[in-house]
């Protein structure tokens, strides 16, 4: 009798342990149906696919496929590629330079384009007022961020800083006025649009959501250079890729010891959590694994003024010095930090926080050495 009780207790413990098995980078969300897991697997293949000019690549592009950049440690992860963007900010108005080919400045050209125009990358737009660098970030848990209700995001906004804590936070808007949440400037409202736009802007692959190629420095693509008819991928391939990205889970934060737990408290105590909101919750979704889930996000998805040293391009309503609070997801696998990768350590990244982040930065600097290490240990667990 006693032995039976012990066995059943052990079995219960095993089940509980299995339930709490850590999610690794690149894993799908827990609770997907068999059909959703199948779509995740098939979508990963499209994500990892290498495009060629014969299958739609270019004529201008940054990469030959999603997985070429978002690769470490698994598809959907960080990458060491850095892209170039440029806009013009004049009289408080942001111009994304669409007439000159748009704000993503592709760094490669297909052989046919090179042959036709003698260029091996997109010409830098002459009207640009500034050039920006953007690192390749991990895209885990983006399906969860996509479903955080707008009202929850707007509830964190305090554009007039009415509570006088030195942190304002305001939403960015897409070109058609919807709340933005994706990209370093929170310019894109939905994950589906971000993915569809990335196919075109990063790989030069048109799709049903954006069936037209961008111009080349304001001029049309020379005849014969891009022979694959638009759209260059079908809706089904776009949907599969979208499901792969949507179903990518955020990796479980590593277990922390006493130091890490101390760091977690300090993260809130010194004010980091005012913008890097630790937990967000999704709204309703027909996908059970995404439906009303709390998840570690460490972002408020709002724009904050980060001071003149970090400033680069404007985008939408975001001024050059405003950036969306970066979600601190899969931070432990990142090799470079901040939007342009200027920081090689977390300490450097914190030290570079200015503007609305300056008070938290100063409180971090004022911590005892052991406490600073504790906070970094916590961040390295994410």
């Amino acid at each position: 009798m006693r032995r039976a009780a012990l066995c059943s207790g052990f079995a219960a413990l095993c089940v509980a342990a299995a339930c709490h098995k850590a999610i690794r980078p690149g894993d799908p969300l827990r609770g997907l149906t068999r059909e959703q897991r199948d779509r995740f697997a098939r979508g990963k293949e499209v994500f990892k696919h290498t495009f060629t000019p014969a299958t739609g690549l270019g004529p201008l592009y940054n990469s030959t496929g999603c997985g070429e950049c978002h690769e470490s440690p698994k598809p959907g992860g960080h990458g060491d590629e850095v892209e170039v963007q440029a806009t013009a900010f004049r009289g408080g108005v942001c111009d994304p330079l669409v007439g000159e080919g748009g704000f993503v400045i592709q760094q490669h050209a297909t052989p046919k384009l090179e042959q036709a125009l003698g260029i091996d990358q997109e010409p830098f737009p002459p009207l640009a007022t500034v050039r920006a660098l953007r690192t390749t970030t991990a895209i885990f848990a983006r399906g969860l961020l996509d479903l955080v209700p707008e009202a929850d995001i707007l509830a964190y906004a305090d554009p007039e800083d009415r509570n006088r804590d030195g942190i304002s936070g305001r939403p960015n808007r897409s070109v058609d006025g919807r709340l933005g949440r994706f990209g370093r400037k929170a310019f894109v409202p939905t994950l589906a649009e971000f993915n569809a736009g990335a196919f075109v802007a990063e790989i030069g692959v048109t799709n049903p959501a954006q069936p037209t190629e961008e111009n080349i420095g304001g001029k049309p693509i020379p005849p014969g250079v891009d022979p694959v008819p638009e759209p260059e991928i079908k809706q089904a391939e776009l949907d599969l890729t979208d499901d792969f990205v949507r179903f990518l889970a955020g990796p479980t934060p590593a277990k922390v010891g006493r130091k890490g737990r101390r760091g977690r408290h300090l993260f809130s105590d010194i004010g980091c959590a005012a913008c890097h909101v630790p937990t967000l919750r999704t709204g309703r979704s027909p996908v059970h694994a995404l439906d009303r889930k709390e998840f570690p996000a460490y972002t408020d998805l709002l724009l904050h003024d980060m001071g003149p040293d970090l400033a680069d391009i404007c985008l939408g309503l975001a001024t050059p010095s405003e950036f969306r609070t970066e979600p601190l997801i899969a931070l432990r696998d990142a090799k470079r930090f901040l939007h342009d990768g200027r920081a090689s350590t977390l300490e450097q990244a914190i030290a570079a926080h200015d503007g609305e982040g300056s008070a938290a930065r100063d409180r971090f600097k004022a911590l005892a050495r052991g406490d600073r290490r504790a906070l970094i240990a916590f961040l390295e667990s994410l």
């Binding site: 108005v93 994304p96 669409v98 007439g99 748009g102 704000f103 993503v104 808007r173 070109v175 058609d176 006025g177 994706f182 990209g183 310019f187 894109v188 649009e193 971000f194 993915n195 569809a196 736009g197 990335a198 075109v200 802007a201 990063e202 959501a209 954006q210 037209t212 961008e214």
Partner: protein
């Protein structure tokens, strides 16, 4: 039963007719975006998907109905306005029939 069969036939014929109609000319097209530039008789609208932005030129004849918290004139539309334009594709390009200014705050 006879009435049902006739209704089904009407629906089928309508669907076939719709499928056979050439895309473009008579189909209304809706564009939402930010006004990029305004010219006499037209405007450039910034639209797009994600980071893949595009500019669409839309003609705005005097007949275009403009609304935005009341009735407005076409000349009151300015760069930076967020609008929804219901257009028709004509031989002369996209023509706005109705424009609605959207409050994005």
């Amino acid at each position: 039963m006879k009435r049902l069969t006739r209704a089904a036939a009407v629906v089928a014929v309508s669907l076939l007719a719709a499928a056979a109609a050439p895309a473009g000319a008579d189909e209304p097209q809706t564009y939402r975006g930010t006004v990029y530039a305004v010219q006499l008789g037209g405007l450039d609208l910034l639209t797009g998907v994600g980071y893949a932005l595009r500019v669409v030129h839309i003609r705005t004849p005097e007949t275009t109905v403009v609304r935005g918290g009341g009735s407005l004139r076409v000349s009151e539309i300015k760069p930076g306005d967020v609008i929804q334009a219901d257009c028709r594709l004509t031989d002369a390009g996209l023509v706005a029939e109705r424009i609605e200014q959207r409050d994005t705050r």
